[in-house]
Amino acid sequence: MMHLKETELCLGLPGGGGHNQEEPLKITGKRGFSETTHLKLNFVQPNESSSSSSDVSKDTTTTLYVKSPPAKAQVVGWPPVRNHRKNVIGGKRKTEEARLVKVSMDGAPYLRKVDLKMYKSYQQLSDALANMFCSFTTGNDGRQGMMTELMKESRLMDLLNSSEYVPSYEDKDGDWMLVGDVPWQMFVDSCKRLRIMKGSDAIGLAPRAMEKCRNS
């Protein structure tokens, strides 16, 4: 796309003057397609002396890539190398500072780890957790988003009184808090581990969350 523009004015061969500069740029009869990058120039090769015939009999048009294009923007999935490989190419791998926290869920046999840096909001985290543990929840529609539901005061009380699950986390000070209390980034920085507990067990964590609902 950009290449046609770039090369329109520059007919010179790399490293040397171009012949026939007065001659207009000639596109051959091939189907035009705006994204093609090659031009067909009508010119005579400068160093034809080596070949016996100086007049190019069979084909006077040559495709030439006259100027290397500007650096291309990165495209999704190109080059087609699996992400897995991309990370380790270049020798020793330096893992970025990931915010890995353990996630446990009451009643589930497996412990999980999540990288909080992979999410940008409570909603995303909630969806991911729901996917991870959905087989264990009792009829909970994972897509609902536990966190946003939590924000509604009335719903909160119902949730805490029921046997449904509530996400809580341990912060830097060792206190257990309800997820959703603080702005997302603050949560990411202070969360040490996550625990998805039964609503009834989480009642003690409620007051702060209730206050936040009232104030917001």
């Binding site: 897995h84 791998r93 999980r112």
Partner: protein
């Protein structure tokens, strides 16, 4: 021969029939009706028929043959998990020992498919848990597998022997722990390029202790979590049948040494990091070098049977000479994770398969001339059957030379990373190079093209690529005619994946006669419109036509065109588990 079986490539560089399969015979069974003696005889014959293509042909002869074939098929291959419902499979094939299922489209590997698109293994495993109590092998590629699914496997199939997961995700080390502890007959556990979550479970210690295992193959190089080396060492020591061992990068070269001296019978080795652990590097380097080198050389020399070497995840090149003793026998060497240059790799190898990956996989990187490299490979490896080659630039001459020097090529995948790149010497499109490949490599079944191509390249492929089953096109093409050539000419085409190419509705329409013969068609960032896709969907009711955006945003379109079109035949209609952003027309 390489491990195409493990990677579940259908373009076997070897012969097509699965002679390597270890099926038991159909076994004893009760014949209710004496009239069916003929069917009985047929069944006894069919037991020996392994090739699924032959079996498919047999099943079409008549109802009686259909029944006999269904009764004796023990290996079921499902190329697209959405082409057929699990129940339909279990009702037709009653005595299955091995199941292979493929899920997501291949471009999902490169981030072109949103994460939750589908391909769930759960409905399959729950159906099979009831229907196939004698199931022994499960091979999955690009499926979503949960820890629960793994638990179901471990608890439903008492004679389960072989689990191979390629490019799968959704499970973690906790699921692995259940499998290795409860599948008492486990022979093969291969985890290849999976995304395995680290649940901090020491799964390697969960193999039953103090008794010899049946393990023949253990691959876990993609598992990105530390391994309890002590348990691993003891495991290897009590696995007398172990032939294939592929370690992850947490295994240092010293640990590798300790493992291979216990397993000189290995034929396939993935070396782990192939470097010393960081602490050791500075201190002990000088002192122990000489001792260690000779130890390594002798350790490797003792593994006389190694034919396939891979790994080298964090290679320290000074240790490379240790592998020299095994190089003469190698038929496969995979250095794709190794950051070394040609100088460091001098031993000559008689290769059947070669994969060269870019060290710096960005588009604008400066690289030395790679057409020379391709030419050198073609001269050195005349028996080459399969090549995947990444480069920044290429010439027609080198590709033409390869087509002449390596006429046995079955798989030719050339990826010129710099998009739209013509021949860097002549400035011409790469048409003639790829044309030569399809013309001269008469066994070619899989082709991936790149660089600057005009319609002419596609006319060559349509004209000569009669055996081509898989074709990948990216940032190529000139007009609709190119795709028409393909769809009209490649009579054996089964899998077509195209991205960022100027093919539109009229080109798509020209494939109507063939789409039912194909496993799938993928077109992303091309010029097909929603209307064009709808027209196709209307004409072909058994075709599931999915339209979606690669970024998971609703709608499916980007401007005037569909972002991604993914269509495939299905016996059971559109799937019920499609996420909200997938439109099924």
């Amino acid at each position: 021969m390489t491990d195409d079986r493990s990677e579940m490539s259908e373009d076997d560089a070897g012969d097509g029939t699965a002679a390597r399969s270890r099926n038991s015979a159909a076994g004893d069974y009760f014949i209710p009706y004496p009239d069916q003696v003929l069917e009985n005889v047929l069944e006894n014959v069919l037991v020996f028929l392994k090739s699924r293509r032959d079996r498919n042909a047999v099943s079409l002869v008549c109802k009686s043959w259909y029944r006999a074939e269904a009764y004796t098929r023990s290996d079921v291959f499902i190329g697209n998990c959405y082409a057929v419902a699990p129940r339909r499979v279990t009702q037709r094939f009653r005595r299955v020992r091995s199941v292979t299922i493929k899920g997501r489209p291949r471009f999902a590997d490169f981030g072109l498919v949103p994460r939750d698109w589908g391909a769930h293994f759960s409905p399959w495993v729950s159906t099979m848990a009831i229907a196939y109590r004698s199931l022994e092998k499960i091979h999955l590629k690009r499926m979503s597998v949960t820890d629960d699914d793994l638990a179901v496997i471990a608890h439903s199939f008492p004679t389960f022997k072989e689990l191979i997961l390629v490019c799968c995700e959704g499970f973690g080390t906790s699921g692995l722990a259940v499998v290795v502890s409860d599948c008492r007959r486990l022979r093969v556990l291969e985890l290849i390029e999976d995304d395995v979550s680290d649940d901090e479970v020491d799964w390697i210690s969960c193999f039953p202790v103090d008794i010899p295992t049946n393990l023949e193959s253990l691959t876990f190089d993609c598992v990105e979590s530390p391994i309890n080396f002590d348990s691993l060492e003891k495991l290897v020591a009590r696995s007398p049948f172990l032939k294939k061992l592929r370690l992850n990068r947490y295994i240092s070269i010293a640990q590798l040494y300790r493992l291979i001296i216990r397993a000189p019978q290995l034929t396939h080795l993935g070396t782990g990091s192939f470097s010393p652990p960081e602490q050791q590097q500075q201190q002990q380097q000088q002192q122990n070098d000489n001792n260690r080198d000779s130890d390594f050389v002798s350790a490797f020399a003792a593994c006389r049977g190694i034919v396939c070497l891979s790994g080298f995840r964090e290679i320290s090149p000074e240790y490379l000479p240790a592998i020299v003793p095994v190089c003469a026998n190698l038929t496969s060497l995979n250095l794709s994770y190794a950051n070394i240059d040609a100088e460091q790799l001098k031993p000559v190898i008689h290769l059947r398969e070669l994969r060269v990956f870019p060290i710096d996989a960005t588009e604008n990187a400066e690289v030395p001339v790679s057409d020379v490299g391709l030419l050198a490979i073609s001269l050195g490896c005349r028996k080459l059957r399969s090549i995947l080659y990444f480069c920044q630039q290429m010439t027609n001459a080198a590709v033409i030379a390869m087509s002449k020097n390596c006429p046995d090529l079955v798989v030719f995948r050339l990826c010129i990373i710099d998009r739209y790149r013509p021949d860097h010497v002549t400035g011409e499109p790469m048409d003639e190079g790829f044309g030569a490949i399809v013309k001269n490599c008469k066994k070619l079944t899989r082709l991936a093209v790149s660089g600057l191509l005009t319609d002419r390249a596609f006319s060559y492929i349509g004209q000569y690529g009669k055996l081509v089953r898989t074709l990948s096109v990216a940032f190529n093409g000139e007009s609709d005619i190119g795709l028409k050539y393909i769809l009209e000419g490649c009579t054996n085409l089964q899998k077509l994946e195209i991205r960022d190419s100027p093919f539109g509705d009229s080109a798509l329409w020209s494939g109507l006669h063939h789409f039912y013969n194909m496993r799938f068609v993928w077109m992303s960032s091309c010029r097909v419109t929603r209307q064009g896709c709808t027209n196709v969907a209307r004409q072909l009711p058994r075709l599931v036509v999915e339209v979606f955006r690669g970024d998971g945003v609703e709608g499916g379109e980007r401007g005037d065109f569909v972002d991604t079109l993914y269509m495939y035949r299905s016996l059971d209609g559109p799937r019920a588990d499609a996420p909200h952003y997938v439109n099924i027309l």
